[in-house]
C-alpha cells in the first residue's frame, strides 16, 4: 500500500479565510440545529406543551408536596388477595388472567386527594388500584374510580381544570369564579357535574363499585379486537357504607380492617362490551346501560396493610402496564395518566432515596 493520505493534510493550504469561515459555519450550523431539535423534542424549548412534569407540578400547586407520597390519590391503604377467574372473559381476551384459575393481586384503596392526611370526607369518590401478577410474568395494572364518568375528555382539559381549582393564595380556597368559568367553557363536564351534585362520601371502601372509566381493547386468541370498559362491583350491599354513618376524618381504613376481620371482601369483575359506534376516546360519556356485561370472575381481598409499609407502596398503578390480550384504546387520558404516574413515581421514590434536590420528609403530623 502507498503511504496513506491521512498523514498528508495537503488540502489545508488551499483553504482561504472566507472558505475556512464558511466551513466552520456549516459545522456550527449542523450542531446548532441538532441541539435546537433536541431541546424542542425534549420540551425545554417548548414551554407551552403540556408535559407530565407540568401536569404533576399543577397537582402539587393545588395540594402541596408530601414527600414520599403519590401526587394524587395520596391518602390510601394497601390490600392483598387474588382474582378468581371463571373463564368467561377468555373468549374476548387471551390474557392469562382470564383463564380459569387464580391470579395474586396487590391493590390499594384511596381517596382522590393530594394530601395524605386530609379527611376521608374531602371527596365523594373512592378509588381502587390493582396489580394482577400473572403466572407468565406479565402484569395487569388498573386504577378505577367510584364514579360513573370522568369530568373531562382530554389531558389539556384536566390540566386546565386543575389550574382553575388552584387555591387562591389570599384565601387558601379555589376562586369559584374561575372554577365556574372552566365548567361553563367545558360542556362535556355536565354528566359528571350532575352526578357529583348528589354524590356523598362513602363510609366504606367495601360497599363501593369501581369503574375503569377509560376504554380498553380486549384481543382474543384469533386476534379479534373487542373494545371494553370494566368495573369491579361489590358484593357488599349493606347500608353500613352509607354516607353520613361515618364520623371523624379517618374512618375508611378502620372500616376496612373491621370488615376484613370478619372475612374476605368480594367484587365481581364485570366487563362491558362496546357496540359499534360507542365512544372509546371519551371518558365523559357512559355507554348505554343495555350493553352486554360479562362476569369474568371474582376479586377476593383478604388482608390490608398501611400504605407506608405495605406492598402497594412501591407500585405505580400505571394503567398502561397491560398483559398480552389487553391493549389501550384511543382514549387520550390513558397515555397522560401513564406519563403523569411515572413522574409522580419518580418524584416520590427520589424522595425516599433522599436524592439531592428532592423534598425531605417532615415528621408525620399524626401517628399512624
Amino acid at each position: 500500500m502507498n503511504e496513506p493520505s491521512v498523514s498528508t493534510p495537503s488540502g489545508k493550504a488551499s483553504l482561504t479565510w472566507p472558505g475556512l469561515i464558511g466551513r466552520a459555519a456549516v459545522i456550527g450550523g449542523v450542531l446548532l440545529i441538532t441541539v435546537v431539535a433536541f431541546g424542542y423534542v425534549g420540551g425545554w424549548l417548548a414551554p407551552q406543551r403540556l408535559t407530565p412534569a407540568r401536569l404533576v407540578n399543577q397537582l402539587q400547586a393545588n395540594a402541596g408536596v408530601f414527600p414520599g407520597y403519590r401526587r394524587n390519590h395520596a391518602k390510601g391503604v394497601c390490600v392483598t388477595g387474588y382474582f378468581q377467574s371463571n373463564g368467561q372473559g377468555q373468549p374476548y381476551s387471551d390474557a392469562q388472567v382470564f383463564a380459569p384459575g387464580r391470579t395474586p393481586v396487590v391493590g390499594r384503596f384511596a381517596v382522590p386527594i393530594g394530601d395524605p392526611y386530609g379527611s376521608d370526607s374531602s371527596a365523594p369518590i373512592r378509588s381502587m388500584a390493582l396489580r394482577f401478577a400473572l403466572a407468565n410474568g406479565q402484569q395487569w395494572r388498573t386504577g378505577m374510580n367510584s364514579m360513573p364518568v370522568f369530568p373531562v375528555t382530554t389531558p389539556q382539559a384536566f390540566y386546565d381544570l386543575l389550574k382553575a381549582q388552584q387555591p387562591d393564595p389570599a384565601t387558601g380556597k379555589p376562586d369559584m369564579a374561575k372554577v365556574g368559568a372552566f365548567f361553563a367553557a367545558h360542556p362535556e363536564t355536565a354528566a359528571f357535574l350532575a352526578w357529583v351534585k348528589t354524590a356523598k362520601p362513602s363510609a366504606s371502601f367495601a360497599t363501593e363499585s369501581y369503574l375503569s372509566l377509560n376504554a380498553f381493547v380486549f384481543v382474543d386468541a384469533n386476534g379479534v379486537r373487542h373494545p371494553v370498559r370494566w368495573r369491579m362491583v361489590s358484593e357488599a350491599t349493606d347500608a353500613a357504607g352509607d354516607a353520613g354513618k361515618a364520623s371523624g376524618t379517618d374512618y375508611l381504613d378502620a372500616d376496612l380492617s373491621q370488615r376484613l376481620a370478619q372475612g374476605p371482601l368480594r367484587w365481581h369483575l364485570l366487563v362491558t362490551l362496546a357496540n359499534p359506534g360507542d365512544p372509546t376516546n371519551d371518558a365523559t360519556k357512559a355507554w348505554p346501560a343495555d350493553r352486554r356485561d360479562i362476569d369474568a370472575g371474582t376479586l377476593v381481598l383478604d388482608a390490608t396493610q398501611p400504605q407506608e409499609s405495605g406492598p402497594c407502596r412501591d407500585i405505580n398503578y400505571d394503567p398502561l402496564v397491560l398483559p398480552a390480550g389487553i391493549e389501550a384504546s384511543d382514549d387520550p387520558l390513558l397515555p397522560a395518566r401513564s406519563a403523569a404516574y411515572a413522574t409522580s413515581y419518580l418524584r416520590r421514590t427520589s424522595e425516599e432515596a433522599h436524592l439531592p434536590g428532592t423534598a425531605t420528609a417532615h415528621p408525620q403530623p399524626e401517628t399512624k
Partner: protein, 183 residues
Amino acid sequence: MMNSSSTRFTLAARVLHWLMAAMILTMLFIGVGMVASVSERHDWLIRIHKPLGISILILAVVRLAVRLRHPPPPLPADLPPLQKLAALASHWLLYTLMFALPLIGWAMLSAGGYPVMLSESLRLPPIFPVSPVAFAVLRHAHAWLAILLFLTFLAHMGAALYHGLIRRDGVLSSMTGIRLRRS
C-alpha cells in the same frame, strides 16, 4: 511512522457505525420526547424505546468484538496530542455509554417492579431486585447519562466534520468509506 494498516475501517465496522449512529440518535430523541409528552406519542415511543435499546445493546456487543478484532486505522501523525487524547477518550466514552444506557434502563425497570416487555408478550427477566431507592437512582442515572451521550455525540459529530471539512485529513473518509481522488 505510518505502518501498512488500512486507512479505512473494515466494512463491518462501517456498517455497524452508521447503523448504530442512526439508532442511537433516534433513541436519544425518542427518550427525551417520550418523557416530555402526555399524548399518545408517550405510549408508542416507549414501545419503540425498549426493543430499540436492547437491539443497541446486542449490536454494541458485536461492535466491540469487531473493534477488538480489527483495530481502527491510526489517527493522522500530525494530529496534536491533546486532540488524539480527546479522540481516544471520547470513543471509549461512547462505547461505555452504548453498554451502560440499555443496561441501566433494563435494571431501572426491574428495580421499579415493572415487567420488562419488549413487545405485547416478549418479556425479559429482571436483572435487579425490586427497590424504590435503586429505581430512583437508576432512573436519574439513565437520564443524565443520556444527556452525556448526546453531548459526546455532538462532540464526535463536530470533530468528524472538522476532520472532513477543515483538516481534510482522511479521518472522516476512513468511516464514510468515500475517498476523494487526490489532485
